[in-house]
Assembly symmetry: C2
Homo-oligomer: 296 residues x 2
């Protein structure tokens, strides 16, 4: 799976491995990085390996899940016999001997669900939970526009196979540490609104004083977007060495990826980000300039 894994990467990979094992294949799930606390409820995650021996993979097939190059997964495909790509992100580079990339599908977890169905592999409750969690993460539990009838039909079958919607939702949304909640309160105090643009920030000092972890700021950028007059929300996090990490989210038609690219970052139309050593005051001013008169 890709580095800095999310719930879809983890759930889809674990489910695929379990399916392959159930039909007699040896499957190992590799991720360069650790599983975030948020995903520690996903069954089987303890068996994810964080290193592998490239000298012993020449008879193996590499399956790149929820990304579409070996580089993004921090592996070297040349050490493997063959490479398969299963992903729902846009592809930029040619990679993979077999390639299934469907940007219109909400989650890679849903693609793995369809693979299991096509191979007639019975859904265990463990696989169902991992796939339900994967789909939940990438659809905001069925709130994003990528939610389709196919998403819902699969969700119905995954619940039937043992996935519990409330348990997944509680793990994803109601497992905040007190430190994280305290940091959110502090971050919301920094809210500034210019036209339809909202900005919030977390300094290193705030992180230190609250004892929150960098991963705790996940999703903070979405809070100002709850306001009806806001179309663009920006969250700045101080990461040390004078570097700010900016996360941008937009509603509707505003393309934040374009702005992020100007600052050397990237992303999707409605969700993008970048890192910069710019002074925060100057950075805010520059961003407002890019968003144009609409925002003032």
């Amino acid at each position: 799976m890709h580095i800095n894994p999310d719930g879809d990467a983890i759930g889809a990979s674990l489910a695929l491995a379990e399916m392959l094992q159930s039909i007699g294949k040896r499957a190992v799930v590799y991720c360069r990085d650790r599983v975030p606390d948020l995903c520690s409820f996903m069954p089987g995650h303890e068996e994810i390996v964080h290193s592998y021996d490239p000298g012993r993979t020449s008879d193996s097939t590499l399956v790149v899940v929820d990304c579409n190059t070996d580089e993004r997964a921090a592996v070297d495909a040349s050490a493997f016999k063959k490479s398969i790509v299963i992903d729902h992100h846009m592809t930029e580079k040619p990679f993979g001997d077999i390639k299934w990339v469907e940007p219109s599908i909400c989650a890679t977890g849903l693609m793995i669900y369809h693979i299991g169905k096509a191979l007639d592999i019975p859904l265990t409750s463990q696989t169902a939970l991992n796939l339900y969690a994967a789909i939940s993460v990438d659809t905001g539990t069925f709130r994003y526009s990528n939610t389709t009838p196919d998403t819902m039909t699969a969700a119905a079958e995954l619940i039937r196979a043992g996935a519990k919607p409330a348990i997944v939702a509680n793990h994803l949304y109601n497992e905040w540490s007190r430190q994280r909640f305290t940091l959110l309160k502090e971050v919301l105090k920094t809210l500034e609104i210019y036209g339809d643009t909202a900005m919030i920030s977390a300094t290193e000092k705030m992180m230190d004083e609250t004892g929150a972890k960098p991963e705790d700021t996940e999703n903070f950028v979405n809070f100002p977007n709850m306001i009806n007059s806001i179309n663009v929300s920006v969250f700045f996090r101080e990461t040390g060495g004078g570097v700010w990490k900016a996360s941008l989210r937009s509603k509707d038609t505003v393309n934040v990826a374009e702005v992020a690219e100007v600052f050397g970052g990237g992303g999707h139309k409605n969700a993008a980000g970048f890192r910069t050593k710019e002074d925060l005051g100057v950075l805010k001013k520059k961003l407002l300039d890019y968003f144009g008169p609409r925002s003032r």
Copy 2:
């Protein structure tokens, strides 16, 4: 529909009326109270009437939706020819010539969906949107434990018929006024934690200073429940005349209805409330006493 209507009551009633009209019946949707702003996106809500002439209903059938007595709907059944109940709440009193009450179904909207299917009435995009919104409201968009395979299968068909998940979710969750957001920030500052119990409050002064409306505090009580160590969350709102309105939410096994009943209120196991003239400091202490040593 019941007084103080929510999205399920409104969506289910509007959808039923549209279905009945499509098969040649005359149907009028009555609600004593106004439609909350949150539900103003639901198509057809402008046609809801807020008064009726009891002298002209003797040839009509009363259909009580999302509640199970005429009293709860602020109508007098004796003025009608016949009464039908369609509801998913527990019944306490005998009422209704025809009665369909299914507490295991997540939303009355889902019951109306099944009525439409049984009568073979094609789903219009307007009906689909109202039913999807109704189901979304009562399942927290598929996050509560009342979400079943049947919920998801219906949701799939409603999307196919024209309901847009992201549009519904944006209306329900991302249409906060700035006043409401400012009030939330102020309310979160009042957070106190005792053991696994969290308490937050909104004074009249905070309401005045932020310009927020009482209905804006809807859902505030759920915020502290995002914290993993919290099992009971209480929100107090000062309503004037020295009265506090308390809303209680619990996770898992804690029964907050029992506590609310002690104070003359009521509700469900995980969601209850009451009103009191008690001093806030004394009230907090009493509540902590009721929650027992677990909370200290």
